[in-house]
């Protein structure tokens, strides 16, 4: 069937919007991988938690994620106090207790207040981020930090196990049926044959803003540079007194925020289920790998490519959409693999 211009433009728009979400996740995956060598499979659960927590707040119920946050906070406090038992000072203990125990209490109070005072949408979004973001560093403390020296494969399998556990929790908290959230911008824009929804503009703007913010963070701030240093050389970074744990915390916090934000953005356009996140994360992961798990621009570009292929495939051969998406990835992978310098030897000179 011929594709006329208006259909073409709609498909492009759809592809770019979905690709932007994959791109966000790809960025988060690259950040976490370069800093901690963890392939964060559960980022999909951050997406689902973000979307469904917002949906719960909108329907006026206290989301189950609040309790999860509390439990993770306690577990993280225990793990952190245990690891630092040798050189604990009053100040460090207070800091650890404050960030691990007090924070969930404050966030829960915020969520409760949000429900009781009919908070505007934007406030709800912020509260959702406050609920999901601390889960990142808590999970890092509880799950990954005790085994920071394990191989990439083992860390990946741990991520899979964590993904299973969190997905199970998602089902308990939110049930099997999906939810949608209110649009962040209801307006629509018509440019010639183009018909752009406000939400897709929001998605693209937020993505661009986030990329700029991340760029500034990595280029301009001390913490960002420390993260980059860790990514380039873990041992070297340690020798110049960059704390790997602190870097892990920052990376995981960023990932949780980006994941939740992705969920919030997309849940106004589609129905999100407790198990939607995995497939979105998988596509983000594919994009991240095409970028070699190091290159941010390449990862973002391949995410857009995946979104576009998906959009056009769902128009032309919807039954074989996934087949087309993944088969088109293969030549890209071959090309990328050839482009990476010949692996003469891992340790050669």
């Amino acid at each position: 069937m011929a594709v006329d211009l208006s259909i073409f433009l709609v498909l492009v728009q759809d592809g770019i919007v979905n690709g932007a979400i994959y791109g966000l996740l790809a960025l988060a995956l690259v950040i976490v991988f370069t800093v901690t060598r963890v392939i964060l499979v559960p980022i999909g659960e951050f997406v689902a938690f973000g979307a469904l927590t917002l949906a719960a707040l909108e329907t006026g119920t206290l989301p189950g994620t609040v309790w999860l946050l509390g439990i993770l906070g306690i577990a993280s406090a225990v793990c952190r106090l245990w690891t630092s038992r040798r050189h604990a000072t009053a100040r460090s203990v207070a800091w650890q207790l404050g960030t691990s125990l007090l924070l969930p209490v404050v966030v829960t109070a915020l969520a409760w207040a949000c429900l009781h005072f009919q908070a505007p949408q934007l406030v709800k979004v912020l509260v959702v981020l406050a609920i999901v973001a601390p889960m990142g560093p808590y999970l890092y403390d509880v799950v990954y930090r005790p085994m920071a020296d394990a191989s990439v494969l083992v860390l990946l399998i741990v991520s899979v196990a964590l993904h299973l556990a969190l997905q199970g929790l998602g089902l308990v908290f939110f049930g099997a049926e999906g939810s949608r959230t209110q649009s962040l911008a209801d307006a629509t824009l018509e440019i010639g044959p183009m018909f752009i929804t406000g939400q897709s503009i929001v998605v693209i703007l937020v993505t661009i803003a986030l990329i700029i913010a991340l760029f500034l963070f990595f280029e301009r701030t001390l913490m960002g540079r420390a993260l980059r240093a860790t990514a380039v050389n873990r041992l070297g970074a340690r020798l110049v007194a960059i704390s790997p744990a602190l870097c892990g915390h920052v990376a995981f916090t960023l990932a949780a925020i980006i994941g939740a934000l992705g969920g919030i953005l997309i849940s106004a356009m589609t129905t999100i289920y407790y198990d939607t996140g995995f497939l979105i994360a998988l596509k983000g992961f594919v994009a991240a790998v095409i970028g070699g798990l190091v290159s941010y621009p390449l990862a973002a570009a391949s995410a857009i490519l995946i979104g576009l292929v998906e959009s056009f495939a769902s128009f032309h051969a919807s039954a074989f959409k996934e087949v087309l998406v993944f088969m088109i990835i293969l030549p890209v992978l071959l090309w990328r693999s050839w482009r990476t310098p010949a692996l003469l030897d891992e340790g050669e000179e």
Binding site: V143, P146, M147, D149, A150, S151, L153, V154, I157, V158, V160, A161, L162, H163, L164, A165, L166, Q167, G168, L169, L171, V172, L282, F285, V286, V289, I290, G292, L293, A319, F320, K321, E322, V323, F326, M327, I329, L330, L333, L334, R336, S337, W338, T340, L343, L344, D345, E346, G347, E348, E349
Partner: protein, 596 residues
């Protein structure tokens, strides 16, 4: 495998055979054991693929699907007997693994992992959307297996069948890994460069591992189809592939036993949690996956290399210490036919105007020298002079930007490392490249790769025994020569760095080379060891071997070599007898540095 391990394995096998015959054995556990067996087969393939060859695959469920769908389609649509479809199923999964591997195995690291995901996802959706596979509802009414009146629909009979297949697969896997092609696969983890430089076709080795794992998965699929009697896409999706990987890693991905242990743990945990949790929590709900995930995290935190190594350590502590395996006496007779060495003094290698450029940096600039048979030549120069790069140019590891290298009058510039090894150039590495976790003896035997020919099928069926015996006789001989026979059964990484260098020399000697390239062989050796090494190299020279060595220990070099080639800043500085070089002002300048 020590005797106590062998006895333990036999006891375990006896238990696996006898336990289901006990009257008190719960009947469902027989079914459960069958399922554990099916998963073990796939996990066993993953041990070869991930643990041994270092290739991560997220596509094993797809190969299970190939086996299952092949027999499902052939038995229900064409009425073939399951016994006829067994070879077809194995062939189909093997061939598809070969085809998919041929396209994908050139990929590296994470690219390969993602590619296997792509294949698996595609297969899943194809099976769900094509009428050929009867879409999402799948194929039902698959006949049960029967043989001479034995009905394998009976769960106990089926269990025997699974157990038989599993034991067979374990034996085949052990045979394969303990053979020439198996060592080639194991060599992949020591780095492709080292493996290629003594003649292993690493790409072929990768394909071999991939196909073998695919065939094991296909066998599991064939069994699955006849146990389940119905197939549909759901057990062959990416989630199941991840599950198999999870089993292998939780059990211990570097050990055959780990595959079995992992499959058992994951299957039993899943099954028991669904009955225990409602009872423990006294609540209805879906907490199984949560607890399952949490338990797995704890298991991996407790033992990142899987549970099997823990189990073995415990077992070894309980068992009496096995006697040290005997060291066979040194022998001089060559176990394998030797190559015709060139006449003493004849030209072996001539490099002319060699140049290597990395972007703007010229690492080797117009270097030329000649090596004659029976000569020991030293390549010396300060750090960064381009000595190792020259080595890499001679051995085909790096392509030269320009120039020519004639080896026995053949141009070898532009040839692959593997081809150059075939011609008779063996080398060692500045940064030792032995396969960790593999014994010293096996590492040395790897050097004889090109002098034997056994393939995977011969190896699996133990038809390579005579050849293996000769290979190991050769390996022992070379170990005796470098004085490390007493370390033969240690893991290579347990040796000191100096000893590891000697192991590399022994491995290189196994190739029966015309020309031996040694990259800093004496570094890390103690005084007496150095003397022994010098004596060995001198002996080799007397036997007619040609040796080129890079070395920083000037005493060692000056006393041993016939000639020296001195390099500085990529360029050739001087050539000549050690005595002359010692007095060469340019060389002294380069080493001691001028005013700068």
């Amino acid at each position: 495998m020590s005797a106590s391990h062998r006895i333990a394995a036999l006891v375990l096998l006896a238990a696996a055979i006898l336990a289901p015959l006990l009257p008190a054995f719960p009947p469902f556990w027989i079914t459960l054991l069958s399922y554990i067996g099916l998963s073990s087969l796939v996990a066993l393939g993953l041990v070869v693929l991930v643990g041994v060859a270092g290739l991560t695959s997220f596509g094993q469920a797809m190969f299970v699907g190939f086996g299952a769908y092949t027999t499902a389609i052939l038995t229900t649509r064409y009425g073939l007997s399951p016994w006829l479809t067994l070879p077809v199923a194995l062939l189909v999964s093997g061939l598809l693994a070969w085809g998919i591997g041929a396209i994908t195995l050139r990929l590296k690291g994470h690219y390969l992992a993602i590619a296997t995901i792509a294949w698996n996802v595609s297969f899943y959706y194809l099976a769900g959307n094509l009428d050929f596979f009867q879409r999402n509802d799948g194929i039902s009414g698959i006949p049960a297996i029967t043989l001479f009146g034995i009905d394998f629909a009976d769960s106990l009979n089926f269990y025997w069948l699974v157990l038989f297949c599993l034991v067979l697969a374990i034996v085949l896997t052990r045979n394969l890994l303990d053979s020439r092609p198996g060592r080639a696969v194991r060599a992949l983890r020591g780095g492709a460069l080292a493996a290629e430089s003594f003649g292993v076709n690493t790409y072929k080795a990768r394909v071999l591992a991939f196909v073998y794992a695919g065939i094991l998965a296909g066998l599991s699929g064939w069994l699955y189809a006849h146990l389940q009697r119905a197939v549909n896409p759901s057990p062959f999706g990416i989630n199941m592939s991840i599950d198999y990987l999870l089993m292998a890693v939780a059990g211990g991905v570097h050990n055959i036993g780990g595959a079995l242990l992992g499959a058992a743990i994951v299957t039993i945990l899943r099954d028991q949690l669904q009955t225990m949790l409602p009872w423990l929590l006294n609540a209805q709900g879906n907490f199984e996956t949560i607890v399952f995930g949490a338990l797995l995290i704890l298991i991996l935190q407790f033992s990142p290399r899987g549970l099997w190594p823990h189990l073995m350590r415990l077992f070894d502590r309980l068992m009496p210490k096995a006697a040290e395996p005997a060291v066979p006496p040194a022998s001089e007779a060559p176990p394998l036919p030797l190559r015709q060495q060139p006449d003493r003094g004849a030209e072996v290698l001539r490099a002319t105007e060699l140049r290597k450029q990395f972007g703007g940096l010229v690492a080797v600039d117009n270097v030329g020298f000649q090596l004659n048979a029976g000569e020991v030549v030293g390549l010396i120069g300060p750090n960064g002079a381009g000595k190792s790069t020259t080595f890499n140019l001679l051995t085909g590891v790096l392509p030269a930007t320009r120039g020519s290298v004639l080896f026995l009058k053949d141009e070898i510039c532009g040839r692959t490392a593997r081809h150059i090894a075939t011609l008779g150039i063996a080398r060692t590495f500045q940064h030792v490249k032995l396969v960790h976790g593999m014994s010293v003896l096996d590492n040395v035997a790897l050097g004889a790769h090109l002098r034997a020919s056994a393939g995977p099928v011969q190896a699996a069926l133990l038809l390579d025994k005579a050849e293996e015996a000769r290979i190991f006789a050769l390996a022992w001989q070379q170990l005796h020569r470098v004085g490390l026979a007493h370390c033969a059964h240690l893991a290579a990484d347990e040796l000191s760095l100096g000893q590891q260098r000697l192991v590399e020399i022994a491995r290189a000697l196994c190739l029966d080379p015309v020309l031996l390239l040694l990259d800093e062989p004496a570094a890390g050796l103690r005084h007496l060891e150095k003397a022994a090494l010098a004596k060995l190299l001198d002996k080799l020279r007397q036997e007619g071997m040609t040796i080129l060595l890079v070395e920083h220990d000037m005493d060692f070099v000056m006393n041993l070599t016939d000639r020296l080639v001195v390099m500085n800043f990529g360029a050739e500085l001087a050539q000549g007898r050690p005595k002359d070089i010692q007095g060469n002002p340019a060389v002294i300048d380069a080493y001691l540095g001028t005013a700068a």
